[in-house]
């Protein structure tokens, strides 16, 4: 099996997932609607005062994304399970980690699009001015999403095949994502307020390290959890 074969396989799986989602749109639309609704509800919980909203914006954005992400990850394997397509997929020749990598890419595209919408809605609803350091904010968003999607896709591969998938996935996933949440929220918060303490750099490196550790770990272990 050459690297070119693996790459083709990854692309095929990612493309299949993205196409399914693009054609039906039902999943995507409802997840986006859910994310926006939670942002509105956070707004009610935090009160109409503009300053309080602005300060909480980074936190609410990530919590909304986390919740929406769980719905997305559950879907990503559920569609296949319902159609009985997961077993044939596993029977195809080729290394199993490519299935994970393909799903990961599709989920990145899916959650990345949700993120873009959630960010725009947050900026508007919470009256956050676009900070000068927006490229760094973008980097934080990307790194945080990679961390979220990596573990989300991995845990969904297990949790969606259990009896209690709705509750099990967040139960397994959220404690694992505490570092991502803390790092992404702290870095975004710092950057939005001008980064006077120069702490955003450390958080960005931390996120990068987290992503590398868990990307490697999930790619190595996926083979073991999918075979059963």
């Amino acid at each position: 099996m050459s690297w070119a074969d693996d790459r083709r396989r990854i692309r095929a799986i990612a493309w299949k997932d993205i196409t399914t989602e693009r054609r039906s749109k039902a999943g995507f639309n409802s997840v986006v609607a859910f994310a926006v609704t939670s942002l509105v509800l956070f707004g009610f919980a935090l009160g109409p005062e503009a300053r309080a909203l602005r300060e909480a914006a980074a936190g609410t954005l990530w919590i909304a994304l986390l919740f929406a992400g769980v719905l997305a990850f559950n879907r990503s394997f559920h569609v296949e399970l319902e159609g009985g397509a997961l077993d044939p997929l596993l029977i195809y020749p080729g290394r199993r980690w490519t299935i994970f990598a393909g799903k990961l890419l599709a989920n990145l595209a899916f959650v990345g699009t949700i993120l873009a919408i959630v960010v725009l809605v947050s900026l508007t609803l919470y009256q956050v001015p676009v900070p000068k350091a927006w490229p760094s904010v973008l980097l934080v968003l990307v790194l945080g999403t990679v961390g979220l999607v990596t573990l989300g896709t991995f845990y969904a591969a297990m949790a969606t095949r259990t009896r209690a998938r709705e509750v099990l996935l967040p139960l397994l996933l959220f404690p694992m994502l505490v570092p991502v949440l803390l790092a992404a929220v702290s870095a975004s918060k710092a950057l939005l307020t001008g980064d006077v303490m120069h702490e955003s750099g450390a958080w960005i490196r931390f996120l990068l390290g987290y992503d590398v550790v868990f990307l490697t770990a999930t790619l190595l272990v996926f083979e073991k959890i999918i075979e059963a």
Binding site: M158, L172, E199, V221
Partner: protein, 229 residues
């Protein structure tokens, strides 16, 4: 390989010894002088600190046996990891409760967002997730493989969570830390540490025996249902 494991008398003796040791350690704790500042409150640390140690130790066992399972594929490794996870979660809960009982009078709050407290709580949630996953998966091989992955990832995450919470706190305000221990109390702490260690080993062993008996029963039932023996 038969999964059935007969409970042995030697382990029962060990269990009796462990609990006697635990009682003796508590008795010793009551004979020591109360702390100058905190009085008898100080003595919660005798049990709180060892409970925390045992939490980490059992999670280490979960990590080692989960990794071993993924390599060896022996079901017994998985059952031992599960036994350690259950005992670890118990000690973890105990650590949190004892810490709160101490924190309320000493710090004036049941809970503070201290890095150590917070990461212990996260660790507890990871354990709970691990046990929930096991409860919701019926196929033994699947259950073993998946919980091994969750156990390994959880263990990898422990230092990362601790670091993230510490940064989160220290970058904003000065970290509060529990008072360090006076040398006079070291004996009480050591005695309890060993008592907890013995109790932990006994609990893990007992859970492991039970798990093997339960699995052997399931296996036998399957055989009968299939028209075998």
């Amino acid at each position: 390989m038969s999964l059935y494991l007969a409970p042995s008398r030697r382990w029962t003796t060990f269990g009796i010894f462990a609990f006697l040791f635990l009682i003796a350690s508590q008795a010793y704790g009551f004979t020591t002088l109360p702390d100058r500042d905190m009085g008898h409150l100080q003595k919660i640390l005798y049990v709180h600190v060892p409970a925390a140690w045992m939490t980490f130790l059992s999670f280490l066992v979960v990590f080692i046996y989960s990794a071993r399972y993924l390599i060896s594929k022996r079901e017994t490794d998985d059952l031992l990891a599960a036994a350690a996870a259950e005992v670890g979660a118990t000690f973890n809960g105990l650590t949190l409760v004892l810490g709160m009982l101490w924190g309320r009078p000493a710090w004036g709050a049941w809970w503070v967002w201290d890095p150590r407290l917070t990461s212990t709580l996260i660790l507890f949630l990871i354990f709970v997730g691990y046990l929930a996953l096991r409860a919701f998966v019926d196929d033994p091989q699947r259950r073993a493989q998946w919980s091994a992955a969750v156990g390994i990832f959880g263990a990898i995450n422990v230092p990362i969570v601790y670091m993230s919470v510490r940064w989160w706190r220290t970058l904003h305000q000065i970290q509060s830390s529990p008072s360090t221990m006076d040398p006079a109390y070291v004996v009480g702490l050591r005695l309890n540490a060993f008592a907890f260690l013995f109790v932990m080993i006994y609990f893990i062993r007992k859970r492991y025996e039970l798990a093997r008996i339960a699995r052997a029963t399931e296996f036998a039932a399957d055989q009968v249902a299939l028209g075998g023996a």
